[in-house]
């Protein structure tokens, strides 16, 4: 590598990590939070025992999993304006990613809730709890432990998927890399650099997952 190329890499590290800090990471966090709210709601709908409600939830999951994320993103940002609904890039991205994560995580949450033994519900009822309290205080905390590994997967995928937001004009990690690449014509270098930064973020997340799992495992026999 020439010294010019080194300078380019070092010089672009600023804008690229800036894109990560101001774009990728907040976008992923906001979308994951929104997605989890949707996921719990959809999981509870599927478990509600009401056929219409459960069918609605199933339909949602099927639709999200059966269509490409890029298409979902484009429908929200480029499609809705033709119905008179114009949404800015950032909210568009958060809406699309949240809906997407919600569809995938709903299945994880549902399975995790079902994995808690029936006796836990009964013990909660017997001490006088109603269903919502039992869910909140007894069932979900136990379901959370089971769902950390699969939800971490979802979150890590989401972090990488946010690169798609560059296609709807959100300034994030990958878009910053693209800008420098287009300007300098050093595509290989800049895209590898972007990949490396994604990798570092995901390594940090994996470490976080390990810590969280260990913490939630403190009440389980080994």
């Amino acid at each position: 590598m020439t010294s010019d190329q080194w300078d380019l890499v070092l010089g672009s590290l600023g804008p690229i990590t800036g894109g990560a800090i101001r774009g990728t990471i907040p976008l992923a966090l906001a979308s994951f939070a929104g997605g989890m709210v949707i996921a719990v709601a959809v999981a509870l709908m599927r478990l509600s025992g009401r056929r219409l409600v459960a069918a609605l939830a199933r339909g949602y999951v099927s639709l999200i999993r059966g269509t490409p994320l890029l298409v979902q993103l484009f429908v929200v940002f480029y499609g809705l304006p033709s119905l008179g609904l114009v949404i800015d890039p950032w909210p568009s991205a958060i809406i699309a990613f949240s809906l997407n994560v919600g569809g995938y995580a709903a299945e994880v949450v549902r399975a995790a809730i079902l994995s808690v033994p029936k006796g836990q519900w009964e013990a909660a009822y017997v001490i006088g709890m109603a269903r919502p309290t039992a869910l909140r205080r007894i069932i979900l905390p136990q379901a959370a432990r089971v769902s950390v590994p699969p939800l971490s997967n979802t979150f890590i995928s989401l972090v990488k998927d946010t690169s798609l937001a560059s296609l709807i004009l959100v300034t994030e990690l990958f878009r910053e890399a693209q800008k420098v690449a287009a300007f300098s014509q050093e595509f290989m270098l800049l895209y590898l650099e972007a990949a490396l930064v994604y990798w570092v973020i995901c390594l940090a997340l994996s470490t976080g997952q390990g810590v969280l799992e260990k913490r939630l495992d403190r009440y389980v026999a080994h």
Binding site: V126, G128, R137
Partner: protein, 264 residues
């Protein structure tokens, strides 16, 4: 740790604490309970015995609404609490449930909560009692069953016998009128059964009203005032514990007891 009237034994006067009539329950086409009647007076210990599949546990679970019977009336202190035939709403079932507390065969402690939190969860979160008072109560109850030093342990760190004693303390902490025990020693290693039975005998002596589904015939004979023998979903025989267990009127009861005492 004082129920209504310590050492009262059986107060047979006045309306029963709990009177169940015509309890029926089917799971699909399988009829589990066919018209079971059961009366429990304050301070009384009733043991329900019977072969597995006879419906013992289902009766117990109908008494607190964990299972919704198809038909049958439950009266509490002489007034109608739940009529299962009219598909009771949740409010009625909750009112019934609030009178009792249940001890499970598999303890069902909350694994993500400490021993102390398991015991105080109901009093604090549901009954909204002051946190300090609930804690002190719980610690006193734990001390009573010899587990004060395990208050901050998690359930997985306890033996089965200890877990079941916590299960009993969790029930007591709710200050219920009625304690329901669903085969409380069946999941325990034999050498741990004694601790739990001793505790239950002490509770009976203090006058707690108890309905116990059990295979422990010796416990039933020594502690229960009355034994109910359930066979294929119906009460085949009931009466004073000693009489039913040593000189049953029905051949079927005799067989069952013999098989339990002499398995080989």
């Amino acid at each position: 740790m004082s129920p209504t009237d310590p050492g009262a034994g059986r107060a047979a006067d006045g309306p029963a604490l709990l009177a169940v009539t015509g309890l029926r329950k089917s799971f699909g086409t399988h009829e589990v309970l066919r018209a079971v009647d059961l009366t429990v007076h304050t301070g009384e210990v009733v043991a329900i015995i019977g072969a597995s599949g006879s419906g013992k546990t289902t009766v117990l679970r109908c008494l607190n609404g964990l299972e919704v019977a198809d038909a049958g009336r439950v009266e509490v202190h002489g007034s109608l609490a739940v009529d299962f035939a009219t598909s009771p709403d949740r409010r009625q079932l909750n009112a019934l449930r609030d009178r009792s507390a249940m001890v499970f065969q598999h303890y069902n402690l909350f694994p993500h909560k400490t021993v102390l939190e398991n015991v105080t969860e109901g009093p604090i979160v549901v009954q909204r009692r002051p946190v300090r008072e609930a804690r002190e109560d719980a610690l006193a109850l734990l001390a009573r069953v010899g587990l004060a030093d395990r208050a901050d342990a998690y359930p997985f760190q306890l033996s089965g016998g200890q877990q079941q004693r916590v299960g009993i303390v969790r029930a007591l902490a709710l200050r219920p009128d009625l304690l329901l025990f669903d085969e409380p020693t069946s999941a325990l290693d034999p050498e741990l059964v004694g601790d739990v039975l001793t505790l239950m005998r002490d509770l009976a002596a203090e006058g707690w009203t108890m309905v116990v589904v059990t295979h422990e015939l010796q416990f039933a004979r020594e502690v229960a005032h009355r034994v109910v023998f359930l066979d294929e979903g119906a009460v085949l025989e009931e009466g004073p514990a000693r009489q039913v267990l040593t000189d049953p009127a029905q051949e079927r009861t005799r067989q069952f007891i013999r098989r339990l005492l002499h398995p080989l």
